[in-house]
């Protein structure tokens, strides 16, 4: 076996220059393949964008696949104003921001206890959290839906008076469901913090809370940042919880509200394209700004297994 071969996974080694010598035709073939793939991968998005920037009258007259006669941003402004998108974006913010913060806060506490305090059953607990995140959502939806119809909430939290159809309910399930993944990643990360640091803190008389809050959390900042990025896109992109646990369209986050808009604008595809593009903007911005964190997060979750 190649034993000493494995270095630390998850740490991105800079690709060593010249470590592989490819023959020229191999280079050309690879380039050609990746160019074709990239074009194919961009095509659906590019075409939707093209539909979005063309006026309805143009596409009706010349067809959707035609040379541009006029280009316009009016579809975007129309989609924005006619479909109340600001309102749906606000719903998304109200769900995503608290959910991400709560998941990270709770998960780092669990991960800390499970890695740094001997709770005897800590491996069992870690398995419990991790497995929970791997279940398909449909496995738990039936009782969850009944629960949400049963649990009453005060009216200042939910105007339906129920967990069902409330922003609060959506935050709760997103938090519970994503906890597992974050606990898993963070506990792997915390294990790599050298024991000596905790011994030094103990000598200084640091309490458990201090070791958690002052020592562990700052050290985990990279992992927390990566997870925050991932969670933001996952929760923002959620479709299933929003359509099953919310009855009224106007409380739904933007991704699932789009399904309704599709019906509303059915005769004007240009508007649908524009609305879809608008809805994609937040995750694309996150991706462009935080590409490194995002990919680091996925890698953390996978290769430290």
């Amino acid at each position: 076996m190649t034993t000493e071969a494995l270095t630390r996974p998850g740490t991105a080694l800079p690709s060593a220059p010249g470590r592989r010598r490819t023959r020229p035709w191999g280079q050309i073939a690879s380039q050609a393949f990746l160019i074709v793939a990239s074009v194919l991968w961009l095509l659906p998005i590019a075409f939707a964008l093209y539909v979005a920037i063309r006026p309805y009258s143009d596409t009706r007259k010349y067809g959707y696949v035609s040379m541009p006669h006029h280009l316009t941003l009016k579809n975007f402004s129309d989609a924005w104003s006619q479909s109340d998108m600001l309102h749906f974006f606000w719903n998304s913010v109200l769900i995503t921001v608290p959910a991400v913060i709560i998941v990270l806060a709770l998960a780092s506490g669990v991960a800390f206890v499970l890695t740094r305090v001997n709770v005897k059953i800590n491996v069992a607990l870690l398995i419990l959290f991790t497995a929970g995140n791997l279940l398909p959502q449909q496995v738990i939806i039936t009782p969850l839906y009944r629960m949400y119809l049963k649990i009453t909430l005060p009216h200042f939290v939910s105007d339906s008076g129920l967990m069902y159809n409330s922003i609060f309910g959506l935050i709760a399930i997103n938090v519970a469901f994503q906890l597992g993944f974050c606990v898993f990643v963070l506990s792997n990360y915390m294990k790599s913090v050298p024991e000596e640091m905790y011994e030094a803190a103990l000598v200084d008389g640091a309490s458990l809370w201090t070791r958690f809050w002052r020592l562990t959390i700052p050290l985990c900042r990279p992992a927390l940042a990566a997870l925050a990025t991932l969670l933001t896109t996952w929760i923002y992109n959620d479709f299933f919880w929003a359509i099953t646990l919310m009855s009224s369209g106007d409380k739904r986050p933007v991704t699932s509200a789009l399904a309704n808009l599709q019906g509303q604008f059915v005769s004007n595809q240009n508007l649908i394209a524009a609305a879809a593009m608008i809805a994609a903007v937040p995750t694309l911005v996150v991706y462009i700004l935080l590409q490194k964190q995002f990919i680091a997060g996925l890698s953390l979750g996978s290769s430290k297994g």
Partner: protein, 337 residues
């Protein structure tokens, strides 16, 4: 490096992934002060309660409900369902394995849904995963523009599946879609109804799913490839292996942990598949999946809670296979330590 520490690293490396954790001397709960114990209880207790209440309690609930006949109105009770009684009088009763029996025998959508889920899995295993792996291997060779290719190929993963479904409708639409227009099949007489034809639409949607999934697989493999020690490749080259041999004989076996992760992700993603078919045509007419059947039985107008739960349990049992594989691979080391 001294020989003793080498044993340590070698042992950890054999298992594949994490750096060898230094032998830890963890302090048991008993040695903690009262204040520390309260902190432990709060840090662990609240998330545990949340996880149990919103994930595990419903999961067990699904299993229990699957043995009942219930329309969601009224209460559940422990009496056995009486045969040949109108279902309104039987509501909430104990139904045994009847739901499962009905699903397998008389529910017309069940076997097509199972078949579609299997096709979904097969496409992910045979097309999306190798494609993602190929992307990763080519990009990892550091060819010119690799960062740009990586960004483009990963772009679809950032979009929600619901959005992917909407975006692809512009490709697939009968009359104005890009595909039909380009191949000249967009008139009313000869148009191909990619998303409406029950023989075609599953494949059309699987193209969308693959478009997204292979970018995901690519990133996971890129992470795995970066973790491979470059000296391994050098050794292989010195030994005269070509790129193909180096990959399959040396690199691929070393990536065992990442391969297992990708296998688990693949199976679970194909079981979870829902958004795309739901946004395309509500998951009917050729696009039935187990996930859709569960949903339509519990949130539809006629609620068949027990029956929907039985379908959920089928999904649960299938998903326990990859979940167990993953947990075994990940945690067997810790159990032994």
């Amino acid at each position: 490096m001294s020989s003793t520490s080498q044993v340590d690293t070698a042992e950890a490396a054999q298992d594949g992934a994490t750096p060898a954790p230094a032998p830890r001397r963890r302090r048991g709960v008993r040695k903690l002060s009262i204040r520390d114990r309260i902190v432990v209880a709060v840090l662990l207790g609240i998330p545990l309660l949340l996880d149990l209440a919103f994930v595990w309690f419903p999961a067990i609930g699904t299993v229990l409900l699957s043995f009942t006949k219930w329309n969601g109105v009224g209460s559940l009770h422990s009496q056995t369902c009486k045969p040949n009684v109108p279902s309104i009088l039987n509501n909430g009763c104990w139904y045994g394995v009847q739901n499962y029996h009905q699903a397998a025998t008389i529910y017309p959508e069940f076997w097509p849904a199972v078949r579609h889920n299997l096709i979904w899995l097969a496409v992910f295993v045979l097309i999306a995963t190798p494609l993602g792996m190929l992307f990763a291997v080519l990009i990892d060779r550091g060819i010119r523009g690799s960062r740009m290719y990586q960004s483009i190929l990963f772009l679809p993963v950032m979009l929600s599946l619901a959005l992917v479904g909407i975006i692809w409708e512009f490709m697939y639409s009968q009359n104005f879609g890009l595909i039909n227009t380009v191949i000249g099949r967009n008139s009313d007489s000869n148009a191909i109804d990619w998303l409406g034809n029950p023989h075609l639409n599953l494949w059309a949607v699987l193209v969308e799913a693959t478009w997204r999934q292979s970018g995901y697989v690519m990133v996971l493999y890129l992470a795995g490839l970066k973790a491979v020690d470059p000296t391994l490749r050098e050794a292989a080259t010195v030994d005269g292996a070509n790129a193909w041999q180096t990959f399959w004989r040396v690199i691929f076996p070393v990536m065992r942990p990442i391969n297992i992760v990708i296998m688990v992700v693949t199976v679970i993603e194909s079981l979870r598949a829902f958004d795309l078919v739901y946004i395309t045509n509500k998951g009917i007419n050729g696009l039935e999946l187990l996930s859709v059947l569960v949903t339509s039985n519990i949130v539809g107008e006629t609620q068949r809670v027990g029956f929907g739960s039985a379908l959920g349990v089928v999904l649960l049992i299938i998903s326990l296979v990859p979940i167990s594989v993953f947990l075994y691979q990940t945690f067997r080391r810790e159990e032994s330590s």
